[in-house]
Amino acid sequence: MRTRDLLRYASGSLVGARTRTLLMLLAMSVGVASVVVLTALGEGARRYVVGEFAQLGTHLLIMLPGRSETTGGATPMFGETPRDLTLGDALSLLRHRSIVRVAPLTFGNAPVSRGSREREVTVIGATHDFFPIRHLEIGSGQGLPVIDPERAANVAVLGSGLRKELFGSKQALGQWVRINDRRFRVIGILGYGGESLGQNLDDMVVIPVASAQSLFDTPSLFRVLIQARSEQDIERAQKAARDIIRERHDGEDDVTIITQDALLNTFDGILRALTYTVGGIAGISLAVAGILIMNVMLVAVSQRVAEIGLLKALGAPERQVLSLFLVESILLAGAGAALGVLISLIAIAFLRQLFPVFPIAAPLWAPLAAVGVAIATGLLFGVLPARRAAMLDPVHALTGR
């Protein structure tokens, strides 16, 4: 029997049993669509998180005071507290050629007021380079001035939300605000929508790091953002930063340096695993669809006993009857899978319209794997009914006994 005739005969009998075929297609397509849509959601979550990290800045390293891991050596004889990370430490990092920018940061909470309006907000002490490193956009005015980081200056850059709360619709640039008991002149407003990893920059104020240190009366830094020259330089920059600080801290390795990539990779790994898991769970529905195919095909075999008997009387060997019914299951599974992919694409497009911020997208492997598994299921669960058809005794089949 020719392959084309085989396909035509099998698809003909599928079309002949319309209700049965449609229900089967429905089951299979729901299975495939759920695999694809769920993995697309997982992949969307991954992309979202990765995007958020990328928004933090490129080739970024974050230095924190203190060691986050133990060395496992002998208990130190003298009590050891991690040394503060100072402005001098931060600036010395620029000595190495793999490091292009550093942004020493101090954080604190303080009331910010103008006239009778007052808000308790996070105050960030930073330098001019903080803005380019963090990819922060200046909505109007300017960022922090390029001055010696050790010098205080009474200027401030407001988050756009804070600006609105303090000034309403009035002009804010050039006006004065009060932070604690000091006066700062507003020289810039951050662009709208500065949010990353849950930190809403809308409600913050950025002032020069030296001013913040004096405001909060602390010589230490909360952290230092370091930008490496290039992707290849990240590792070198990390080592250089560690060496420089160790040298300055009398040989103590007392800072923690997180590379953005390491963080990113961790999240990336977790979310990928999550996507696989969700996809796998949805894959169970494919197995269920496979069992349905088996059921439906078994019913089909018993309904078409006379036809099978006839085929045998006309000289179709067992092998041929077997392949006719197998092809039918595979076609059923394949068509259901194709329909499922179509449904999932529509669903994904719809979800995208609904949540434009969330980058939902099915990874390429998802529809391929779903269709592959669907067809394999059709084959696997088609074997039993097809064998039953092939083994039918033609005499009994023809007399309907």
Binding site: R2, D5, G12, L311, A316, P317, L398
Partner: protein, 228 residues
């Protein structure tokens, strides 16, 4: 062409053994026209199934065109059936979703005949059966007589040597039945070996050779040359 030697076929029904065929010896030369008659359960259909290689005897030998078939494998027997034997059933057994032309062409499809040649051969058969106008109709759009003619078309499209008909007129009225028998006899004239199982003595008498079966045995085997 056909030689049955001491063929035995029995079935186990509960504790009993039912002999559908016992000690059957039968020789059919090519071109013969045989009717098989007998009461229900006399083994007529079983004989036909054995002759058509659908059933395998428990004992004895069956040689078809000089080939001993009882020991042959399933594939070989299927191939013999496909190439040399045509079946006509009482219930027609047409596939309802296929047109008359596709039903007739089904054996060619199963045999892997190339589509163009298939078309030509089906067209020839439709013409010889006076069904040219009905080729695109499905079975439910045809009368009983037309359906049986389509089924005969399907039986002869592979140009078999042997045509086996099991109560071919059982589901037809007198007129259509007569037409169908006429058609089968016409095919026999053209050289095909014809075996008809029937209840109808009128049809039984028309054959040149009438076999009467009782209880799985051939009771009589009479040859009349006065063929109508």
């Amino acid at each position: 062409m056909i030689d049955l030697l001491a063929v035995d076929r029995h079935f186990d029904v509960g504790d009993e053994v039912v002999h559908a065929l016992s000690e059957i010896n039968l020789n059919l030369p090519a071109g013969d026209y045989v009717s098989v008659m007998g009461p229900s359960g006399s083994g007529k259909s079983t004989l036909l199934n054995v002759l058509g290689l659908l059933d395998r005897p428990n004992a004895g030998n069956y040689s078809f065109n000089g080939v001993e078939t009882t020991q042959q494998g399933e594939e070989k027997r299927a191939a013999l059936r496909r190439d040399h034997i045509g079946f006509v059933f009482q219930a027609f057994h047409l596939i309802p979703r296929l047109t008359a032309a596709d039903n007739i062409g089904l054996p060619l499809v199963l045999a892997g005949v190339e589509p163009h040649e298939r078309g030509v051969r089906v067209e020839e058969v439709l013409e010889s059966l006076d069904l040219e106008e009905r080729g695109h109709h499905r079975p439910d759009q045809l009368s009983g007589g037309q359906r049986q003619r389509v089924a005969i078309g399907r039986a002869i499209v592979m140009k078999p040597d042997l045509l086996l008909a099991d109560e071919p007129t059982g589901n037809l009225d007198q007129h259509s039945g007569g037409e169908v028998i006429g058609l089968l006899e016409q095919l026999n004239h053209a050289g095909i070996t014809l075996v008809v199982v029937t209840h109808d003595p009128m049809i039984g008498k028309r054959a040149r050779r009438a076999i009467r079966m009782v209880d799985g045995r051939i009771e009589s085997d009479t040859r009349t040359d006065a063929h109508a």
